[in-house]
C-alpha cells in the first residue's frame, strides 16, 4: 500500500511539474470570460482575436491603459487578471510564435 501511495505521489508531482505556467491557461480562460463578456457577437463591443495586434502593441495597450480611454474595466478585470490576459494575448499575438486567429465569438 505504501508503495502505491508513493507511486501516486510521484505521478501527481509529475503532472504538476509538467503542467504549463498557471497564467497561460488562466490567461486564455480570463480572456474568454472577461473580454468575452463584452467582445462577443451581438455584444457591446466587437469580437477580436489575439492576432489583432502585434506583441508590442498589446504591451503598450496594457501599459498605457488604452482600454480606459474607451471604457474603464478596472472593476471587471483585476490587475493580476489583466497581467495574465496580457501575457496570453502577447503569447498569441500576430508576430508571436503561436498566433491565435480564433478569438472570441
Amino acid at each position: 500500500m505504501k508503495k502505491a501511495y508513493v507511486f501516486l505521489y510521484i505521478i501527481v508531482i509529475g503532472i504538476v511539474i509538467s503542467m504549463p505556467p498557471a497564467y497561460a491557461a488562466d490567461g486564455k480562460a480570463l480572456f474568454m470570460s472577461k473580454c468575452g463578456s463584452c467582445h462577443r457577437t451581438g455584444g457591446e463591443a466587437s469580437v477580436f482575436a489575439p492576432t489583432k495586434c502585434a506583441s508590442t502593441q498589446w504591451e503598450r495597450f496594457f501599459e498605457a491603459g488604452k482600454h480606459a480611454r474607451i471604457k474603464d474595466i478596472s472593476s471587471l478585470v483585476k490587475p493580476d487578471e489583466s497581467a495574465a490576459i496580457k501575457e496570453y494575448l502577447k503569447a498569441h499575438a500576430a508576430d508571436s510564435d503561436q498566433p491565435e486567429a480564433i478569438g472570441l465569438k
Binding site: A49, A94, D95
Partner: protein
C-alpha cells in the same frame, strides 16, 4: 575408352558402313525399337528438363524480383514522385499566396495542403521500402512543420492586412484631424489679424500663433511624410523604413505634444505608431519565417522525396544489375547445357540410328529374300491351285455319282429293313402259331390218352356187357328151358326168352363188334398218339427253325438298320466331301487369285523395301543386300537352297 574411340573414329563417323559388332561391342544391347529410341531420348530429355527447370526457376526468381520492382519499388518511386510533384504544387501555390496574398491563392494552397495530407496518409500505408518509409516519416515531419508554418503565416498575413487597413484609415483620420487643427489655428491667426489695423494688420499678427501654425503645418507635413514612408514600407516591408518610421513618428508625437491644438490627436498618433510598429514587427516575423523556414522547408521536402525516389531508383538499378547478371549466368548455363544436350543428342542420334538402322537392314535383307521366295511360291501356288481346281471339279462329279448310288442303296436298304421287319413280325406270328399248335397237340395227346382210357373203360364195360349178354343168354336159355318146362304157358315166355336170347346174342355181337371197334380205336389212338408225338417233334423242330429264322431276321433287320445308318454316315461323309471339294475348289480359286495378289504384294514389298532402303541409307540401291558387301552380307549370306513349295502332281 577415349583412346578406343579415337582409334575407331572413322567407324564412329561412318557407322553405317562398318561392322558395328567389332566397333561397338559395348553397345550391343538387346532392346526393342521403342526402348532404343526412348533410351536415346531420355538423356536429352533429362538435359532439356534441366534447362527447362533451370529456366523456370530463374524466370520465377526474375519474375518475383520484377514483381517486387514493379509493385514495391516502382510503387514507392511513384509515391515519392507524386509527393515531390504535390510538394512542388503546394509550394508554388503557397509561395504564390505568400507573395500575392490573394484569397483564391490561399484556397488553392489549402487545397494542396489537404491533398498533401491525404497523400502522406496513403503513402504511409502503401510505401514498402524501409529506408524510404523512414524518409517518408521525415517528409511528413517536415511537411507538417511546413504546413504549420504556412497556417501561421496565413494568420499573420490576415492580421497584417487588417492592421494595414487600419493604418490607412487611421492615417487618413489623423491627417484630416491635423488639417482641421491647422485650419483652426490659421482661422484664429486670421481673426487676430482682422481685429487690428487693416493696413498694419500684418504687423499685429501674433508671432507665437504664427509659430504654432508653422509648427502645425510642419507636423502635418511630417505626418504626410510618415504616411508616404508607410506606403513605401508597405510596398516591400523593408525593415529599414520601419526604423525610420519609428523615428519619424517619435518626432511627430513630440511636435504634437508641443502644439495644444494637436494634443487631442496625440493618442490617435500613438495608436498609429503602435499599429505601424506592430505591423513592422509582424512583417519582420513573417519575413523571418518565410526566409528561414517556409522557403527552405520546401526544397528540403523536395530533396527528401528525391531521396526516396533515388532510393527506389537505386534499388531498381541494383536489382536491374542483379537481374542482368542473373540473366547472363542463366543464359551461359543454358547455353552450356544446350551445347552439351546438342552434342549428346548428336552422339545419341548416331548410336540410335545405328541401333535402329542395323536391325532394319537385317529385316530388309530378310524381306527381300522373302519377297523373292514369295514371288516364286506364288507362281507355284497359282499352278497348284489350278490343278487343284480341276481335280476338285472331277472329284465333285464323282461324288455326285456316288451320292446318287448311295441314295438308291439307301432306299433298297430301307426296303430290306422294312421287309426284314415284316418277316420278323411274321416269324413272331408263326412262332405263336407253332406254340399254339404245340399246345393243341398236347391237348390232342391228352384227349387221345383220355379217349384211350375211355376206350379201355368202354372195353371193360363192353366186357361187362358181353358177360351180361352171356349171362342173359344163359338166363334166356334157362328161361327157355323153364318156358319149355312150363310148356304152353311158357311158350310166350319161351318166345320172350328167345327174343332175349337173340337180344343177348345181338348184344354179345354188338359188344364183340364194339369191343373190336374199341380195340381198333385204341389201336388207332395209339397210332394217332404216335403221329401226334411225331407231329409234336416236327412242330418242335419247326419252332426251333422259326426261332432261328426270327433271330436271323432280327439280325438282318439290325444289319439293315446299321447298314442304313452306315449309308447315312456315308451320305453325310459324301456331302461333307462334296462341301470340302467345293470349298477346295473355291479355295483353289482363291489361292489362285491370292497367289496373283501375293505376287503383286511381293512386287509392292520390293518397292517398299527400296523406299525403306532409300529412307535408311539415302539411296534406293538395294544391291548391297544381295551383293554380299558390307557387314550385312557377312551376317546374312544369301541362301543357296531356297525352300520350294511342294508341287502337287495330279
Amino acid at each position: 575408352m577415349i583412346v578406343y574411340i579415337y582409334k575407331n573414329l572413322h567407324y564412329f563417323l561412318f557407322p553405317l558402313n562398318r561392322d558395328f559388332k567389332k566397333v561397338w561391342p559395348v553397345f550391343e544391347i538387346e532392346m526393342d525399337l521403342r526402348k532404343k529410341i526412348v533410351s536415346g531420348y531420355i538423356p536429352v530429355v533429362i538435359l532439356l528438363l534441366v534447362i527447362v527447370s533451370l529456366s523456370v526457376v530463374q524466370f520465377r526468381l526474375l519474375r518475383s524480383q520484377v514483381e517486387h520492382l514493379t509493385q514495391a519499388v516502382a510503387g514507392d518511386v511513384r509515391i515519392a514522385n507524386s509527393i515531390a510533384a504535390e510538394i512542388l504544387s503546394m509550394r508554388t501555390s503557397v509561395e504564390k499566396y505568400v507573395y500575392g496574398e490573394k484569397l483564391e491563392d490561399k484556397k488553392e494552397a489549402e487545397q494542396h495542403i489537404e491533398q498533401m495530407h491525404k497523400l502522406l496518409e496513403m503513402s504511409k500505408q502503401q510505401m514498402q521500402g524501409t529506408d524510404r518509409l523512414e524518409t517518408l516519416k521525415q517528409i511528413e515531419t517536415v511537411t507538417r512543420d511546413y504546413i504549420d508554418k504556412f497556417s501561421k503565416l496565413s494568420i499573420r498575413i490576415q492580421a497584417r492586412n487588417e492592421t494595414r487597413e487600419k493604418i490607412f484609415s487611421a492615417g487618413q483620420t489623423i491627417h484630416e484631424q491635423m488639417h482641421t487643427a491647422v485650419i483652426g489655428i490659421r482661422r484664429k491667426l486670421v481673426a487676430t489679424g482682422a481685429n487690428g489695423d487693416g493696413a498694419a494688420g500684418k504687423s499685429k499678427i501674433d508671432p507665437e500663433a504664427e509659430l504654432r501654425l508653422t509648427s502645425a503645418l510642419d507636423t502635418m507635413k511630417q505626418f504626410t511624410d510618415v504616411r508616404d514612408a508607410v506606403s513605401r514600407f508597405l510596398l516591400n516591408y523593408d525593415q529599414v523604413y520601419a526604423k525610420k518610421l519609428s523615428d519619424m513618428l517619435a518626432v511627430v508625437l513630440k511636435n504634437t505634444e508641443s502644439i495644444p491644438e494637436l494634443a487631442a490627436i496625440k493618442n490617435d498618433i500613438e495608436d498609429y505608431r503602435d499599429e505601424v510598429e506592430g505591423l513592422a514587427a509582424v512583417a519582420a516575423k513573417m519575413d523571418d519565417e518565410i526566409r528561414k523556414t517556409i522557403l527552405p522547408l520546401a526544397p528540403k521536402i523536395v530533396a527528401l522525396s528525391q531521396q526516396a525516389t533515388d532510393s527506389g531508383w537505386n534499388e531498381m538499378d541494383g536489382a536491374r544489375t542483379a537481374v542482368a547478371g542473373q540473366i547472363q549466368n542463366t543464359n551461359m548455363l543454358i547455353q552450356l547445357i544446350g551445347i552439351i544436350a546438342t552434342l549428346a543428342a548428336l552422339a545419341l542420334g548416331f548410336i540410335i540410328a545405328h541401333f535402329i538402322i542395323r536391325p532394319i537392314l537385317e529385316i530388309m535383307q530378310g524381306l527381300t529374300e522373302s519377297a523373292n521366295t514369295v514371288t516364286t511360291a506364288s507362281a507355284q501356288v497359282s499352278g497348284a491351285s489350278q490343278q487343284l481346281a480341276q481335280a476338285s471339279a472331277q472329284q465333285a462329279a464323282s461324288i455326285e455319282e456316288t451320292s446318287a448310288s448311295l441314295e438308291q442303296i439307301t432306299s433298297m436298304t430301307k426296303n430290306n429293313a422294312t421287309n426284314a421287319g415284316m418277316c420278323d413280325k411274321l416269324m413272331q406270328e408263326a412262332t405263336g402259331s407253332v406254340q399254339e399248335a404245340n399246345e393243341s397237340m398236347a391237348h390232342l395227346t391228352a384227349a387221345m390218352q383220355e379217349i384211350s382210357g375211355s376206350s379201355r373203360e368202354t372195353s371193360k364195360i363192353i366186357k361187362s356187357i358181353d358177360e351180361i349178354a352171356f349171362q342173359t343168354n344163359l338166363l334166356a336159355l334157362n328161361a327157355a328151358v323153364e318156358a319149355a318146362r312150363a310148356g304152353e304157358a311158357g311158350r310166350g315166355f319161351a318166345v320172350v326168352a328167345e327174343e332175349v336170347r337173340t337180344l343177348a346174342k345181338r348184344s354179345a355181337d354188338a359188344a364183340r363188334y364194339t369191343s373190336s371197334l374199341i380195340a381198333g380205336t385204341v389201336q388207332k389212338i395209339s397210332e394217332g398218339t404216335d403221329l401226334v408225338e411225331t407231329t409234336n417233334s416236327a412242330f418242335a423242330k419247326v419252332s426251333v427253325s422259326v426261332q432261328k429264322s426270327e433271330t436271323l431276321f432280327r439280325e438282318i433287320l439290325a444289319s439293315s438298320n446299321e447298314q442304313s445308318q452306315g449309308i447315312a454316315q456315308i451320305n453325310r461323309a459324301v456331302s461333307e466331301m462334296d462341301r470340302v471339294v467345293q470349298e477346295n475348289s473355291a479355295s483353289a480359286e482363291e489361292s489362285a487369285s491370292a497367289s496373283v495378289e501375293m505376287k503383286t504384294q511381293a512386287v509392292g514389298m520390293k518397292n517398299f523395301i527400296k523406299k525403306l532402303n532409300k529412307l535408311v541409307r539415302g539411296s534406293s540401291d538395294t544391291g548391297m543386300l544381295s551383293a554380299g558387301q558390307g557387314y550385312m552380307a557377312a551376317e546374312f549370306p544369301p541362301q543357296k537352297n531356297q525352300r520350294k513349295l511342294p508341287r502337287k502332281t495330279v
